[in-house]
């Protein structure tokens, strides 16, 4: 499967979450901290692939679900079989709805069978 097809399929999987009012973006990281997929509704100040996320992902070890609340937004993180799904949203977004959407999405985020592994789509900083 080509990278663009793969991206398209990922977009399709995340479309319900991205359609939720107040959700600004979705990212998927491998367990090593590599950015596998990202989709933002509007442009971001700094592209996430410019940062090394390995320590952040390491800090999620052992966590199945993490809900981070900041002054101006929320980051909801869900462990999947292929890594961590990270959803950026506004504070007003009903988190129960997002959790439900993630529950629905989880079975589709499984490691591809041999020869069809997800590759990294984005280069690491300096890579």
């Amino acid at each position: 499967m080509s990278v663009s097809n793969c991206m398209e399929r990922m977009r399709e999987r995340f479309k319900d979450i991205l359609r939720t009012d107040g959700v600004s973006g979705v990212m998927l990281f491998s367990f090593n901290g590599d950015l596998i997929f990202k989709e933002f509704k509007s442009s971001v100040n700094e592209e996430p692939e410019s940062r090394d996320w390995s320590l952040f992902i390491e800090s999620l070890e052992g966590m199945r679900e993490t809900d981070l609340i900041f002054e101006k937004g929320r980051i909801y993180i869900r462990k999947t079989e292929i890594g961590y799904m990270v959803i950026l949203m506004a504070l007003f977004v009903p988190i129960a709805m997002i959790r439900l959407n993630c529950d629905i999405l989880l079975p589709s985020l499984k490691p591809a069978k041999s020869g069809k592994k997800f590759g990294r789509f984005f280069k690491k900083k300096g890579g």
Binding site: S59, D67, K72, R74
Partner: protein, 336 residues
């Protein structure tokens, strides 16, 4: 920040029954009483009121007159009407007049309390901050061109104030019976405040002609003149730091969760644990990267019987809860 709710009714028995009934909500709001519209106006002048609950039929100044006065002079204050003479026309009139709620007597105190809590929650929909320097924070508001209503409470003296912003421009300020620039000077002279932000601004008229910067500078100048001694450096922190008496603070927090949510809150333990500090620092950096502001809380589900709530601070505060607890409610109570 404890909010003030003003109850207005000429039926004193009713007033006292409400005050007694609302005692269990004292962690969320305090109650002030007035026996008619005129007394209510005095209370409004002397205090920062977050919500008014008023009867309609009263001597001296009735509920409709009071509602009209509030809409004109305090459009940020929501009003809930309670009345024993309810008709559909009256309700329509009250709602047209700006009332956000209308309850016919008799009613259950819990129903009114629920409506009060829901309405008050809107006051902090844009977030809350603890222990910040007001001047520093408000310059950020100006820079971000925000339209919002900010309620502040001075940490040391407990004074309360309110600021109205439209597209980053300060329209008005209020502290007790002061309004406009003098109130702004007073607020900007406060060293550290707790504040809550409500999105939107009910005021339309601009009562302050000066820019924010000169107002802040003038407030500082006046403060320096009053107190020549060294001004403590202001520190902007995301949450109230756990200070010398962490045990008391933890106890208070525990009590608040248990009182607001009841036995089903699933609270198991509350302690400080440095083990989480480095993880919290990493999680916080993700928020910084996406410009989400200060890190206030984390809820962690590790897939076992207990979940964890982390509150960043000098040492991380950890709250362990039953994994079946009403997590959103607990997070809301802790955030308030």
């Amino acid at each position: 920040m404890i909010k003030n709710v003003l109850l207005v009714d000429d039926d004193t028995e009713m007033l006292h029954a409400l005050r007694e009934g609302f005692k269990k909500y004292q962690e969320s709001f305090a109650v002030l009483l007035a026996e008619d519209g005129l007394q209510a106006l005095k209370r409004l002048k002397q205090n920062i009121i977050s919500l008014v609950v008023t009867d309609l039929k009263m001597p001296n100044m009735d509920g409709f007159e009071l509602l009209a006065h509030i809409m004109e002079h305090y459009p940020d204050i929501p009003v809930i009407i309670i009345t024993g003479y309810s008709t559909p026309e009256m309700e329509q009139l009250a709602r047209k007049g700006g009332a956000v709620g209308y309850i016919a007597k008799p009613f259950l105190i819990e129903n009114l309390a629920r409506q009060i809590l829901t309405t008050l929650r809107r006051e902090s929909e844009g977030g809350t901050l603890h222990n910040v320097s007001s001047g520093m924070f408000l310059q950020l508001i100006e820079m971000e061109q925000k339209t919002c209503t900010i309620r502040l409470e001075e940490k040391s003296g407990g004074k309360k104030g309110i600021l109205f912003f439209s597209d980053g421009e300060l329209l008005d300020a209020r502290v007790n019976n002061m309004q406009g620039e003098s109130a702004a000077h007073e607020i900007f002279s406060w060293d550290a405040v707790n504040l809550s932000i409500q999105n939107g601004c009910a005021l339309k008229e601009n009562k302050i002609q000066s820019d924010l910067q000169p107002l802040i500078l003038e407030a500082m100048r006046r403060k320096d003149e009053e107190e020549p001694e060294e001004v403590p450096e202001s520190v902007m922190e995301q949450i109230e730091p756990i200070g010398e008496e962490p045990a008391d603070r933890l106890k208070r927090l525990k009590l608040r969760i248990e009182q607001e949510i009841g036995p089903q809150c699933g609270l198991e333990d509350l302690y400080q644990d440095e083990f989480w500090d480095s993880r919290v620092a990493q999680l916080s950096k993700a928020g910084e990267f996406f410009h989400l502001g200060g890190f206030t809380l984390a809820y962690i589900d590790k897939g076992d019987a207990h979940d964890y709530i982390l509150m960043p601070g000098q040492k991380t505060t950890v709250i362990t809860v039953d994994s079946k607890c009403p997590r959103d409610k607990i997070l809301r109570v802790i955030s308030e």
